[in-house]
């Protein structure tokens, strides 16, 4: 099992708060890895560190044997580390077709073409349409993203990431806020991701986590608490205590 992405003693401190505390995480190629933990455990911060949106206070991030800690977000995307956002980050004024077309053209390194009219490369358009069809977005292909139903926007959020051809895909609560009856569409899309893509999934819904993941890491207060196969994590009394404690505190 090759390790494709790993963090080594990664730490992020915000004005006195340890958001990420000495996290050493390994993602093996093609794995379906879930990252769970109570609210405020630092899951999204970890993704921000992995994608370069935030810089770690200390520690290293290694991708394919290369230290990528100094690389900017777009350089990491070019290497294949792609994410989705917990709260939709889409181009509200562009259409899904333009959004996906843009992602495909950037991936192919044609984003600086200034002389060519958008839509003049048939293979690029074909690929964009394929992706949109796959995510059942063809019926809204030419609508402004801002006016799409929330479920469609959520699908587009994943579709954009796929258009970047990720090697490691970081999914930050892909089904967050999606009504129960529309969830299966998102989950089907997640389940149908190519097998060679490594996926790190942040999710609160334990049904989703246990049906999806082959490995689970539990993050508590910024630190890696427990890691193992779903069976091991499910049996672990400490994990139960953390979640039970949270439920009691919430209730």
């Amino acid at each position: 099992m090759t390790i494709v992405l790993e963090t080594i003693e990664l730490t992020k401190r915000f004005a006195g708060i340890l958001a990420t505390n000495n996290v050493s995480l390994e993602l093996t190629r093609g794995s379906r890895h879930a990252l769970i933990g109570p609210n405020g455990a630092g899951k999204t911060t970890l993704i921000n560190l992995l994608t370069g949106v935030q810089r770690p206070t200390s520690g290293r991030i290694v991708f394919d044997g290369e230290d990528i800690g100094k690389l900017s977000t777009h350089e990491r995307v070019r290497r294949g580390i792609v994410r989705t956002f917990q709260i939709n980050q889409l181009f509200s004024e562009l259409t899904p077709l333009e959004t996906i077309g843009l992602a495909v053209s950037e991936r192919r390194g044609q984003g600086l073409d200034w002389w060519r009219i958008v839509g003049s490369r048939p293979d690029l358009v074909t690929e964009a349409v394929e992706i949109l069809e796959h995510f059942r977005l063809t019926d809204v292909i030419d609508k402004r993203t801002a006016i799409l139903p929330y479920g469609k926007q959520r699908l587009l959020e994943i579709a954009v990431a796929i258009a970047c051809r990720p090697r490691v895909l970081l999914l930050d609560e892909p089904a967050a806020g999606v009504p129960e009856d529309e969830r299966h569409e998102i989950l089907a899309a997640v389940a149908a991701l190519p097998a060679d893509v490594t996926v790190l999934l942040i999710e609160h819904d334990m049904d989703i986590v246990f049906s999806f993941a082959d490995r689970i890491s539990v993050l508590v207060n910024g630190a890696l608490f427990v890691e193992g196969s779903p069976e091991e994590v499910a049996r672990d009394p400490r994990v139960k205590a953390v979640y039970l404690g949270e439920e009691l505190a919430d209730g």
Partner: protein, 351 residues
Amino acid sequence: MTTPARLTIVAATEWLSERARWHPLEFLFWIAAFAAIYLMPSRHLILTEIAWLGLFALSLDLILGYAGIISLGHAAFFGLGAYTAALLAKHEIINEPAAALLIAGVAAMALGFLTSFLVLRGSDLTRLMVTLGVALVLRELANRNGWLTGGADGLQGVTIKPLLGTFRFDMFGHTGYIYCLTVLFILFLLARRMVNSPFGLSLLSVKDNPLRASAIGISVDARLVAVYTVAAGYAGIAGALLAQTTAFASLEVFSFDRSADLLLVLIIGGAGYLYGGLIGAIVFKIMQDYLSALTPQYWPFWIGLVLVVIVLVGRDRITSWTAPIRLFAERLNWRALKRRPAASITEEHLS
């Protein structure tokens, strides 16, 4: 993944290139502009001013309307272009105006590139202050270096040689207008091509959501530097056109008023569709001409009033107050034909 129907791909191609398609009104606009060469010979002086002001506003539209960079110091590039062209002519370094125009544009681009790094970060307010500051610094540099620029008196004794060695600049502005309009038209075509390209689309995406733009692999900073540099070149050429058609350059080319007026011009016309700057320039110059003849000292009052009305009409977004009008115009004629359901477009194409 399944292979999508050819129908959808053809329709998708149509939709993607839709922004780039020429609108009948656009042809009308340019035909009218060139027809004015013959039809309005007595108005060539003001038309010349409209042409270079339109180009200057087009430059601001490239950064504001397409990349979301607001500037209160765009006169920095305009002024540099004006002085470059005037100095090249005065010292007879380059005698051919069109060649000098190119050099002025390149000089302004260089300044744009260097100062672009100052506008990458920060809010709109930071950008306003930084751009304003750059223009003030340049103005003061020109003021202090009187040996070169003529200081507060302006650069006297500039003689512009005939265009392409043949066409003299006359006092009625005939040559000036044809020259400015041609330059404007060429640069407009280039800009139009650019904003409808994948690069242009990526600028819109950066303006829309920089976080997502970088998350699909776009180097946000590099794109902003690129468009800022290009826009600075456009502004420099606009300044050079002013200097060449008036055979003069003074500190006023760098002034705050000029940058502020420019923002006004673009807001009048509406940002983000390239014609806003041109229409704004026409309206602004005609208003200025008419109102200042009516009330020489108080015309800024009327301009101010118009601005307030425009902003109230536009309410939430001043850059798009023309949107309802444009939408209405589009509904009236061709939009209905164009936005047919996918199937009907594609059947026609495949048959």
